[in-house]
C-alpha cells in the first residue's frame, strides 16, 4: 500500500501547498485548526478540487491535475468519517450501516456486517434511529458505515473532536482495533497529541497550509517543533516502548523504554506489544536528589542535555534517561533554585496516571 498526495490550492488569504506519502497503517495529519488539515483530507476524498495536485494510491492515479484526471468522489471508494457523524436521519442504524454496501457491490457478504457490528459494539443499536443515539454511539455507527462500504482507504477528520473525554476513551480502543485488524490504510486528522501518539505510525505536521515536519510518530511528536503546532498544554515527548507485563492486582503495566522501565495505569496490552506513550512536559517534575516517600511510581535518573526558555516564563528541560528523552516544563524560579544547567544529574518524576497511552 502506498499513498501519495500533493496539493496546491488557494482559498482567499490561505494557501495550501502540501505533499506527503504514506506506506500503510495510520498516517496522522496533525496541526492546529486552520492549518489546512481538513482541506487536505477533502482533496484526498475528492470533495475539494485543488488548483493543482495529485493523489495516487497503489500506483493508481486517482487524480492528477496535469493529466486532467479526476475520479469522482463516489468512484474513489475512500471511506470518510467526519467530525460530526453525518448519519442519515431518515434511516435506521441498520440501514445507515448498509448504505455504502449497496454501492460497493458486496451486499451479499453478511459476515462482514456481523464482524464490523461486533468490532464496534453497536449490535444493540441496529433498529434505532440516529436521533436516539449518544454522540459516541453515533460516531461508532459512522465508522461502521464507512468500513462497510469496503473502502480502499479510510479518511478520518477529527472523529473524536466533538466528543467529551469519556466518549473519546470509549471510542479509542475501537480505533486501535480497526488499525490492527482491518488492514485498511487510514489518514487521520487530529490536533490532539494524545490521540495521534496512540494511533499513528507516521505523523505529518501541517502549519499554515505547509508541511513543517513528517516522519515516525515518536520522533515528530517529541521534537520541540511540535509545540508550535499543538500549543503548550500537550507539548511533551512521545516514547515508544514494549510491554513487559501487568500487575493485575494493582492494574499496573510495566513498559520498557530504552533501558528504563515505566509503570503506567490501566492499559490492556499483551506482553511484547509495542506502545506509544505520550508524556506531557507539564506532568513531569524534576528533583536534584532521589525523592523518598512519594506516590509517583516512575523516578528516572538522567542528565539534562538542553534547557530552553519559553516566552511565558517557563523553561523546557530535556533530560536524557537511559536512552529515552523526557521533557519537563518548570518555572524559571525552579531552574534557578535548583541551579539546573546542561549536564547536571537530575531525577525525572512522572505519575503513572498522567501518562497517555
Amino acid at each position: 500500500m502506498s499513498l501519495t498526495v500533493e496539493a496546491r490550492h488557494r482559498l482567499g488569504n490561505f494557501a495550501l501547498d502540501a505533499a506527503f506519502t504514506s506506506d500503510g497503517g495510520v498516517t496522522a495529519l496533525f496541526g492546529r485548526s486552520g492549518s489546512g488539515k481538513t482541506s487536505l483530507i477533502n482533496i484526498i476524498a475528492g470533495l475539494m478540487k485543488p488548483e493543482s495536485g495529485r493523489v495516487l494510491l497503489d500506483g493508481d492515479v486517482i487524480a492528477d491535475s496535469e493529466r486532467r484526471i479526476f475520479t469522482p468522489v463516489h468512484r474513489r471508494r475512500f471511506g470518510y468519517v467526519f467530525q460530526e457523524a453525518r448519519l442519515f436521519p431518515h434511516l435506521s442504524v441498520r440501514r445507515n450501516l448498509a448504505y455504502g454496501r449497496w454501492f460497493s457491490g458486496k451486499s451479499g457478504s453478511g459476515g462482514d456486517f456481523a464482524r464490523v457490528v461486533d468490532m464496534l459494539g453497536i449490535g444493540h443499536l441496529l433498529e434505532r434511529n440516529p436521533s436516539a443515539l449518544s454522540g459516541g454511539e453515533r460516531q461508532r455507527v459512522a465508522i461502521g458505515r464507512a468500513l462497510l462500504a469496503a473502502p480502499r482507504l479510510l479518511l478520518m477528520d477529527e472523529p473524536l473532536a466533538a466528543l467529551d473525554d469519556a466518549r473519546k476513551a470509549e471510542i479509542l480502543p475501537y480505533l486501535e482495533r480497526l488499525r490492527d485488524d482491518a488492514g485498511i490504510p487510514i489518514v487521520y486528522v487530529s490536533h490532539s497529541v494524545g490521540e495521534v501518539a496512540r494511533l499513528a505510525k507516521r505523523v505529518v505536521v501541517l502549519e499554515n497550509g505547509r508541511v513543517t515536519a513528517s516522519g515516525a510518530a515518536a520522533e515528530v511528536l517529541s521534537a520541540p517543533a511540535a509545540m508550535l503546532a499543538t500549543g503548550r498544554r500537550e507539548a511533551g515527548v512521545v516514547l515508544e516502548g514494549v510491554v513487559e507485563g501487568t500487575d493485575a492486582a494493582h492494574e499496573l503495566t510495566t513498559v520498557r523504554v530504552g533501558e528504563e522501565r515505566l509503570r503506567i495505569a490501566n492499559v490492556s496490552a499483551t506482553p511484547g506489544a509495542t506502545l506509544r506513550l505520550h508524556i506531557a512536559a507539564r506532568d513531569v517534575m524534576l528533583a536534584t536528589s532521589r525523592p523518598e516517600g512519594i506516590s509517583a511510581l516512575n523516578v528516572l535518573e538522567g542528565n539534562i542535555f538542553a534547557l530552553t526558555s519559553e516566552e511565558d516564563g517557563s523553561v523546557d528541560v530535556r533530560v536524557s534517561c537511559g536512552g529515552a528523552t523526557i521533557a519537563a516544563r518548570i518555572t524559571r524560579f525552579s531552574r534557578d533554585a535548583l541551579a539546573l544547567v546542561p549536564g547536571k544529574a537530575v531525577y525525572a518524576i512522572i505519575k503513572s496516571v498522567a501518562i497517555d497511552h
Binding site: V73, F78, Y80, L87, P89, H90, Y99, G100, P130
Partner: protein, 233 residues
Amino acid sequence: MDWLAVSDAEWTAILLSLRVATVAMICSLPFALAVAMLLARGRFFGKMLLNGLVHLPLILPPVVTGFLLLLLFGRRGPLGAFFADYFGLVFSFRWTGAALACAVMAFPLMVRSIRLSIDAVDRKLEDAATTLGASPLWVFVTVTLPLIIPGIIAGMIIAFAKAMGEFGATITFVSNIPGETQTISSAIYTFTQVPGGDAGAMRLTIISIIISMAALIFSELLATFAARRVAAQ
C-alpha cells in the same frame, strides 16, 4: 332544508373542480421539483430570469395570465397547435385547459415550498452519501428526496388549494362552460349573476370550505408524519 340539496349541475361543477385541481397538482409536480432543484442548486446564466418567469403568475393579474395562455395555447397559438397536432391534446375551452391554467397559477407556490425544503437539506449528508459510493442521482433519490418530502407534500397541498380557488385565469382562458370548464368558482360567479342564485352560491361556498379544510388537515397530518420520520438528528 330544501336549499341544502345539491343539484346535478352543481355536482358536476364540484367533481370537475376536484378533477382539474388534482390533475393540475400531479402534472406540475415533476416540473416544480426540477425547477426547484435548478433554482436551489444550479449555478447558471439566466437563473434570475428563470426565477422571475416562474414567479410571474403570482404577480401578474390572473386575467393577464389567462390571456397569455389563450395566445400561446389557443387553437391557433404556437404551443396549442403543437400539442393538438402531435399529441391530440387540445386545451382551449376544454377541462384540460382549466387544469393547465390552474397548474400555471399554482406553479410558483409549489416551487417555493419545495425550494425552501431543498435549501434546508444539510449538504454535508449528501457529501457523506457520495463518499459511500452513491452517484449524484442516487444521492438525490436516497438522501435528498426523502428529506424534502415534507416540503413536497406542503407544496402539493398548497397547489391543490390554489387550483381549487383559481378563477381569473381559468375563465379568461377556457371560459365558463357548464360540464366542461365550469368549476366551483365560476359556478358561484354564475349564481351571483342571476336572480335567486344565492342558495346555490351558498351551497357551493360551504362545499368549497369543507374541501379546503379537509385538504389542509390532510396536509398537516402528512407533514407531521413525514417530519417525524426525518426527525432532527
